[in-house]
């Protein structure tokens, strides 16, 4: 019986192989109606927007007969009561007031990474959401499959577009970030918010240690951090954890931030190659390694552990996104013994601060013209001045419009830390918006960060050299997929 069943299994396997081969004749991830309008030249506005190539005006308006879809879905990654409430309000206001009867459903779809993982297999299929948050490099990866809607088709549309004054109201840096030279200057996103990496510091503790201002250079940072590791904060929670100067979370944005602060970059835009082993990166990470080696820093133990420890008064410095301001505030208030704290620029070796500015934009995956139009109308609403002001206030992100920022006096007055961070925007630098960056983050940069800090004797330059090779390999593989 044994032998017979083995034979039978083999036959079944071969049969299913053959079946599979035949069946795949029917298999295509059915991209339903990929709008042919996507290839039609964009509408020419009477005033050309600065970063767009002017096109010859076409005869008919492909959007003339398109009726926006009635129901669209927005995937976001926002958590926390304040942001979720703000989103709910934005969405319900839009649903109630838009003249096309569009109903938006906002869905929490996981973290940025989760959303990225979910999007990849469903690109160019009807399963895609209509509006999705994403970092520029993620959108670049999507666009390798030609899966994103080029907003240039609608941004200058006479009926549906964004008037010139509105376009110019955006901070130029943010506005330009979503135009991809790699893909013929298509606009694949619009920015609703931005944030940047800042250094959180416990001012009361600093005073106890004998300092009256946060560090501005890495040497000062190290000095203060090491002192803190020896000298607990008087306001620390009993029995929480032993004091330490800095807690590093293994996140590529930290890698970039510290490299920037040492005057370098992780990507060279002239050669289009990663430079994870640039002098600045090596210097920065040798510095961080020394912090660990001297016992002045340790790794974050669980998600948002640095936030908790900071709030408990057992962590002096933390580096993280400015969008965490409200959460850090909560953590400090949580146990009833608040202390004075604020944020400052990352300690830098350069004359001026260099801050890692980032933020996901909202993008529109390709689907049907009806859905794309409806999605665009929502995106327009979401980034409009009043809504942007509401959103920035509630979420702790920075507004993306100059007019909004001009009206933020009260917000700044109420939250000096926010203002401090906001003023640093002009020193902004960005992580590379290249396809495959997410893979490089996960598979190359984060492991090498761990290797560097885990073993104080490891050779930082050698590790980064190897990492750089791997990163560029991934980049090459991704770029080879550009149609």
């Amino acid at each position: 019986m044994r032998r017979k069943s083995v034979l039978f299994v083999a036959i079944i396997l071969i049969a299913s192989l053959v079946l599979g081969a035949c069946a795949t004749a029917t298999e295509t991830p059915a991209p339903t109606e990929v709008p042919t309008e996507a290839t039609v030249a964009t509408e020419v506005p009477t005033e050309a927007a600065p970063e767009e190539p002017t096109e010859v005006p076409t005869e008919a308006d492909p959007w003339a007969d398109v009726v926006p879809a009635k129901e669209i879905v927005w995937w976001h990654q926002h958590t926390g009561e304040a942001r979720e409430a703000a989103i709910a309000k934005i969405v319900s206001d839009f649903n109630a007031t838009n003249e096309y009867g569009i109903t938006v459903t906002a869905e929490y779809a996981g973290s940025y990474g989760d959303i990225f993982n979910k999007m990849l297999p469903i690109l160019n299929t009807p399963d895609v959401p209509d509006v999705v948050v994403g970092y520029q490099n993620q959108v670049a990866t999507y666009q390798l499959a030609d899966a994103m809607f080029d907003m240039n088709e609608l941004i200058n549309h006479p009926k549906y577009g964004l008037p010139k004054e509105e376009q110019e109201d955006f901070f130029p840096g943010f506005f330009a970030q979503d135009v991809f030279s790699l893909f013929d200057n298509q606009r694949l996103g619009l920015a609703p918010n931005r944030s940047m990496e800042v250094m959180y510091y416990n001012m009361d503790w600093l005073r106890e240690l004998g300092y009256d201002a946060p560090p501005t250079t890495p040497e000062e940072f190290k000095e203060m951090a090491c002192k803190a590791a020896q000298t607990p904060f008087s306001g620390a929670i009993e029995g929480a954890a032993s004091p330490t100067g800095y807690e590093l979370s293994i996140d590529t944005s930290r890698f970039a931030s510290w490299t920037f602060a040492f005057g370098g970059d992780i990507f060279d835009y002239t050669t289009n190659q990663f430079t994870l082993n640039s002098d600045a990166a090596v210097e920065a990470w040798t510095f961080i390694q020394s912090l660990f080696a001297d016992g002045c820093a340790r790794l974050v133990t669980e998600n948002y552990g640095d936030q908790t420890d900071f709030g408990n008064g057992t962590l002096l410095f933390s580096v993280g996104s400015s969008s965490g301001l409200p959460f850090y505030g909560d953590a400090v208030e949580a146990d009833g013994t608040p202390f004075e704290w604020s944020v400052a620029a990352i300690p830098h070796t350069t004359p001026d601060p260099v801050q890692n500015v980032y933020g996901a934009s909202v993008s529109i995956p390709k689907s049907t013209p009806e859905r794309e139009l409806a999605a665009w109308l929502f995106v327009k609403y979401y980034t409009s001045a009043d809504v942007n002001a509401e959103w920035a206030k509630a979420s702790g992100y920075f507004p993306v419009r100059q007019s909004v920022a001009a009206k933020f006096e009260d917000v700044f007055a109420a939250d000096p830390a926010y203002k401090t961070a906001f003023d640093l925007l002009k020193f902004g630098k960005f992580e590379p918006p290249v396809p495959g960056y997410d893979f490089v983050r996960d598979n190359v940069i984060e492991p090498v960060m761990t290797s560097i800090v885990d073993d104080p004797t490891s050779d930082v330059k050698a590790l980064l050299d190897e990492a750089n090779v791997n990163a560029n390999d991934i980049l090459a593989e991704q770029m080879s997929q550009i149609k």
Partner: protein
């Protein structure tokens, strides 16, 4: 079946045939729904996986690339051949050894020595093949195999031994046997996602975590548990790095979690197995003066060997298939020291979207499991004592 002969008068052959045909139809009909589901979702995918592994399949089907995905794993077919040859020689040597061992004749002693030589030769060739694969093949995949083996070796023997010990104790007249059994079985029945949450906190790398507090009582410094990629031998002071140093502390933490989850299952099964051993054998042995230990070692162990064999078999297969426990306890800090093969395949599929490579790896894993099962059947199966 005398009664049926009396009740049912002799039927003509056509009636029998009719019944047989009806049975045939009914049989096929009854098994059809199950067959449909099992075929579509259990068997067909194997063939389709093989099919997919022959293509450059990212998210959508790419061009046909034949065995390229497999070569990515092995480096070259020659490497695999060398490895398998080494394995084969090793097995051959084992056979020769065991055969020769049984006789004391001088001529056979030569075969004994020959067997040992073949064994060593096989081992050397195997390691050479492995080294070659490691050079040119997929290091991640090969590492994951080692990690899986560590996980298997760490969990299965412990689960068997602990399970048997606990079952044996329970088997003595113990008050509250029911209650103990219920408690021991609890970890098995509760979903690992939920229980992992507690283990994450207990084995957190904070100094105040429970695990660190306990080892602190023995004067040991706080460890990083789930986050620690260093091998345990390293931590004990030996200077070995990489996977040669044994499982990493992070993997050991996961092993502890695995053992905690599955010992109860083994205990319950052993307990019923013990119940099947006739008490007379014990009584007879006791009358002959056998001590408790003797009774355990010479009666219980052999008599329970079918159960042991079964549990070992499904234990090993289970660890190669294990996913949930490891996935929820994994941290980026532990790097690839906790990535077993099933996790690797999942990551390649879900995160990297390389379907072709992932299916090739899955097929190789499947073949390995098949091989292990056959091997276990042969090696351990012969030691099973059916009383």
């Amino acid at each position: 079946m005398e009664s049926s002969k009396e009740l049912i008068p002799t039927k003509s052959s056509s009636a029998f045939k009719k019944q047989a045909r009806r049975d045939q139809i009914t049989g096929i009909l009854f098994t059809f729904p199950a067959f449909l589901i099992i075929f579509i979702f259990g068997i067909f995918p194997i063939g389709y996986s093989i099919y997919m592994s022959l293509f450059n399949w990212q998210v959508t089907k790419g061009p046909f690339i034949g065995d390229k995905n497999y070569l990515l794993i092995f480096g070259s077919w020659w490497n695999l051949l060398v490895l398998v040859a080494g394995l084969g020689l090793f097995v051959l040597g084992f056979f020769v050894w065991t055969r020769a061992f049984q006789s004391i004749n001088n001529g056979q002693r030569l075969a004994h020595i020959a067997g040992a030589l073949v064994l060593i030769l096989g081992g050397v060739i195997f390691i050479t093949g492995w080294g070659m694969m490691y050079e040119t093949g997929n290091k991640d995949f090969l590492n994951s195999l080692i990690v899986t083996i560590y996980y298997a070796l760490g969990t299965v023997p412990a689960e068997i031994i602990l399970g048997l010990v606990l079952a044996y104790i329970l088997y003595q007249d113990i008050i509250g046997k029911e209650a103990f059994r219920i408690i021991y079985f609890l970890p098995y029945i509760t979903p690992s996602i939920s229980t992992a949450v507690v283990f994450q906190i207990i084995f957190s790398s904070r100094e105040t975590s429970l695990a660190n507090t306990i080892i602190g009582l023995f004067g040991i410094d706080p460890l990083r548990w789930r986050f620690e990629p260093k091998p345990v031998l390293n931590l004990l002071g030996f200077d070995v790095s990489g996977l040669a140093g044994g499982p990493s502390l992070a993997l050991v933490t996961i092993i502890i979690f695995g053992i905690w989850s599955f010992v109860g299952y083994n205990t319950v099964i052993f307990l019923s197995g013990l119940g099947n051993i006739p008490k007379e054998i014990y009584e007879a042995a006791e009358m002959d003066g056998a001590s408790k230990w003797d009774r355990f070692w010479h009666i219980t162990i052999p008599m329970i060997s079918p159960v042991t064999f079964y549990l070992t078999l499904i234990g090993f297969i289970g660890t190669f298939k294990a996913f949930n426990h490891i996935y929820v306890m994994r941290t980026p800090s532990a790097q690839n020291t906790v990535v077993t093969t099933s996790l690797l395949v999942f990551d390649r599929f879900y995160k990297a979207n390389q379907y072709g490579v992932a299916t090739a790896q899955a097929i190789v894993l499947f073949v390995i499991i098949l091989g292990l099962t056959l091997a276990q059947n042969k090696v351990l199966g012969e030691r099973v004592f059916y009383g």
